[in-house]
């Protein structure tokens, strides 16, 4: 939605506030994947767009105002064309941009210059920003910047985006962007088409076979052979440029690179993967979900926050407080009655305070007024949801985001893709599919958009389905981790095995059903790097913040809906309707049906609904499996409809209902 708005503004179609934007020159940040564009965008905008060490982090366009300019962040591309959705998005911005800051990885200059030459030949005003300057210096690579500038006919500046070195020259870079030198041979090649289109940009795209642009002018697009000829010519000119500008002393293999290579081959790569998974398991499953959450949920949430809120409220409202003091032989229990609130009975209040000050005291507040009970009581909207959101979910979600950020920044993900390529190609995908799938463990909604990096529509369909059916998102994983931890290894194993079997069968079935075949793997591996703590923490923080904002508001909507359902009697009707399924087939208490209502709103609420029910470990396993397969959250559903069309989106959505009860039921029949 946001994207469409940005794009229509680019094409000058927008109405509201258009004048202001029409005046501002449009500056597009363009470059190969993973060269640091988003770091530049963050600098210009003062906002945070995701920065990670794998190609395909940015898959849609963002824009921001900077001085008199409007700056656009774009997905990384190796050339301007329409081979996939990412490229189409980037192409629009570049074609309509007034100024292009072409960011290149100086360390991989030869690769990146392809896009640079193409932009110059398209007649765009360009400045070349040679980024990764720190790496170039560190590795003793000599690059003749002046010569490069002379050969290309445009300004060249050098930067190191992680330290912001050279960023003081960015204004200069924008102001001095200009059309570069175009080879005579290229000029004569495009001359005839330029006469018809009026500008070089469209002419080059048409000659390279871009049918969208050709249609616009009513011309025939170039054939694949024409394109290949143009491409090869460009590559040859690049070789000449590199020969004249770059010298390298024999490179020494670095430790990080050696590790990167070991991660590729299953022989060494599988042990590496296992080590990573074990570390993640101990970090999330043991450290965060037990130690940290025990502290935040019990000590901060229940004993500090809820206690203070409840006793404050009980100061004024009629309340019944039961205090239990567990002892070695018997539990001491005492109930204090405050029909007019605690403050009306200072004597009894101080007696209560002395009694409940013992270390292990467990307190139960019961408010006589039903309204006060709904807001501040045991399951009160204020008390319980704040404890649940801030002191249970948040630490777990942050834990997941932290792990994801570390993995994203290391350069490991594309290597995992490569290692798993062969296995994934047996089920109709290629290795690249692992990237949106892994990102799905963070947030399915975002991952739906990242499927744009996949080569064919077919793969996008399969991966989108897998995401909705078989991948739990971080919020849901948080609840799952909290519920499964302490139940031992068996439920975890059953859960993982079931989801894995579902994943493989779903992909295999779709592979058989959908005509065509998956595209073969072609990945440019980024350099391995030590994750930068600043970025990891920043990303964790921004994602957690976004999560809380969204989850917080939906939580209110969700609990309100359940409240209304309860009062109107619809909840009982729904429970009775689903009873044959919930009780006989899934072997769960009929109240578990509540979880499905909450689950339609957000997946983690579904699981949260189960949290307070008294379930056996087997029932927990079945319930968690069912709720994981069950429908994606509303946000994800909307994005899926937009990315994949309503027909495919609705089919997947309906499919998750069937699959959830089918899979959950089968497991129930076996284990309960």
């Amino acid at each position: 939605m946001k994207n469409d708005r940005i794009i229509s503004r680019l094409e000058g179609k927008s109405s509201s506030g258009a004048d202001e934007y029409q005046k501002a020159a449009k500056v597009a940040l363009a470059g190969n994947p993973n060269v640091g564009k988003s770091l530049f965008f963050n600098h210009f905008s003062g906002m945070y767009a995701d920065v990670s060490n794998f190609p395909g982090t940015t898959v849609s366009v963002s824009s921001a105002k900077y001085k008199n300019y409007e700056i656009f962040d774009t997905p990384g591309i190796y050339g301007v064309s329409s081979f996939n959705e990412e490229e189409r998005v980037a192409k629009k911005v570049i074609v309509n941009g007034d100024i292009i800051l072409n960011i290149v990885n100086g360390f991989k200059l030869e690769r990146d210059l392809f896009l640079t030459l193409q932009l110059i030949e398209m007649g765009k005003k360009v400045t070349l920003i040679v980024n990764f300057w720190d790496e170039i210096k560190r590795r003793n690579i000599f690059l003749d910047v002046e010569k490069l500038s002379e050969l290309l006919g445009i300004e060249v500046i050098t930067t190191s985006a992680v330290t912001k070195e050279g960023f003081d020259k960015l204004d200069y870079a924008i102001e001095n962007a200009r059309e570069g030198k175009i080879d005579d041979e290229v000029l004569s090649l495009i001359e005839k088409t330029v006469k018809k289109t009026g500008d070089k940009t469209d002419a080059v795209l048409i000659l390279e076979g871009d049918s969208e642009t050709a249609e616009k002018h009513g011309l025939e697009p170039g054939t694949p052979n024409d394109r290949e000829m143009i491409y090869i010519g460009r590559r040859n000119r690049i070789s000449e440029i590199i020969d004249q500008t770059e010298r390298e002393n024999t490179p020494k293999a670095e430790f990080a690179n050696k590790l990167g290579r070991l991660a590729l081959n299953p022989l060494t790569g599988i042990p590496i993967l296992l080590v990573i998974l074990t570390a993640v398991y101990f970090f999330i499953g043991d450290f965060v979900s037990q130690r940290v959450v025990n502290f935040t949920e019990i000590k901060i949430g229940k004993e500090l926050f809820e206690y203070n809120v409840k006793s404050f409220v009980a100061g004024y409202a009629a309340a019944e407080v039961t205090v239990e003091i567990p002892g070695a032989e018997r539990t001491d229990e005492k109930t204090f009655l405050f029909p007019k609130g605690m403050n009306a009975r200072p004597d009894l209040k101080s007696e209560f305070e002395t009694f409940s000050s013992k270390p292990d005291a467990v307190l139960h507040f019961q408010f006589n007024n039903p309204f006060v009970e709904i807001v501040f009581g045991e399951f009160g909207v204020v008390t319980m949801s704040i404890t649940y959101l801030f002191f249970l979910l948040l630490p777990l979600v942050m834990g997941f985001y932290f792990v994801m950020a570390l993995l994203e920044d290391s350069g490991y993900l594309p290597r995992l893709s490569t290692m798993l390529d062969k296995s994934l190609s047996r089920i109709g995908l290629n290795g690249k599919a692992i990237i949106p799938i892994l990102l799905g463990f963070g947030c399915i909604t975002m991952a739906n958009i990242t499927t744009r990096i996949l080569g064919t529509n077919r793969e996008r369909t399969i991966v989108t389905a897998i995401l909705q059916f078989a991948i739990p998102c971080s919020a849901q994983l948080a609840v799952i981790a909290a519920m499964l931890s302490g139940l031992g290894a068996v439920p975890i194993l059953i859960y993982i095995t079931t989801m894995f079997i579902l994943f493989v069968s779903l992909s295999t079935i779709l592979d058989k059903l959908i005509p065509g075949e998956s595209s073969p793997l072609l990945i440019d591996l980024p350099t391995m790097a030590l994750p930068r703590m600043k970025n990891v923490l920043q990303k964790t923080w921004f994602r957690s913040y976004g999560f809380m904002r969204e989850a917080g508001s939906w939580f209110v909507v969700g609990s309100l809906a359940v409240g209304i359902f309860k009062i109107s009697g619809l909840l009982t009707a729904w429970q009775n309707l689903l009873e044959p399924v919930t009780v006989n087939w899934l072997k769960l208490p009929k109240e578990a049906a509540n979880a499905f209502i909450m689950g339609i709103v957000r997946r983690d609420f579904g699981a949260a609904g189960l949290f307070d029910m008294n379930l056996t470990p087997e029932q927990v396993t079945v319930a968690l499996i069912t709720i994981t397969v069950f429908v994606p959250c509303i946000a994800s559903f909307v994005v899926m409809l937009k990315e994949r069309g309503w027909k495919e989106g609705m089919t997947v959505w309906a499919g998750t209902w069937i699959a959830a009860f089918l899979v959950g039921g089968i497991v129930a029949q076996i284990i309960i």
Binding site: K108, L264, D421, S423, N430, G431, L522, D524
Partner: protein, 73 residues
């Protein structure tokens, strides 16, 4: 020896002599894999996926693509 890229062994220097048709060729050329270029085979994974080194760049090519790229080893 004339063969296809998926037959390359770890450590081989391979010279590219032919690319598949169409969009795939375009993608390879953009990444710097062109006819006539000599690259190093860093590894060949059990499934036939080949890891190439082209200057400072490392590229992974799946088996189904590699078998359509002709090379001289």
């Amino acid at each position: 020896m004339r063969t296809s890229l998926d037959k390359a062994e770890k450590g081989n220097s391979v010279k590219i002599t032919g690319l598949p048709e169409g969009e795939t060729a375009a993608q390879l050329i953009r990444l710097g894999i062109t006819v006539g270029r000599t690259v190093k085979c860093l590894d060949r994974l059990p499934g036939g996926t080949v890891i190439l080194q082209n200057r400072r760049q490392e590229i992974a090519i799946g088996q189904r693509l590699a078998e359509n790229i002709s090379v001289v080893i």
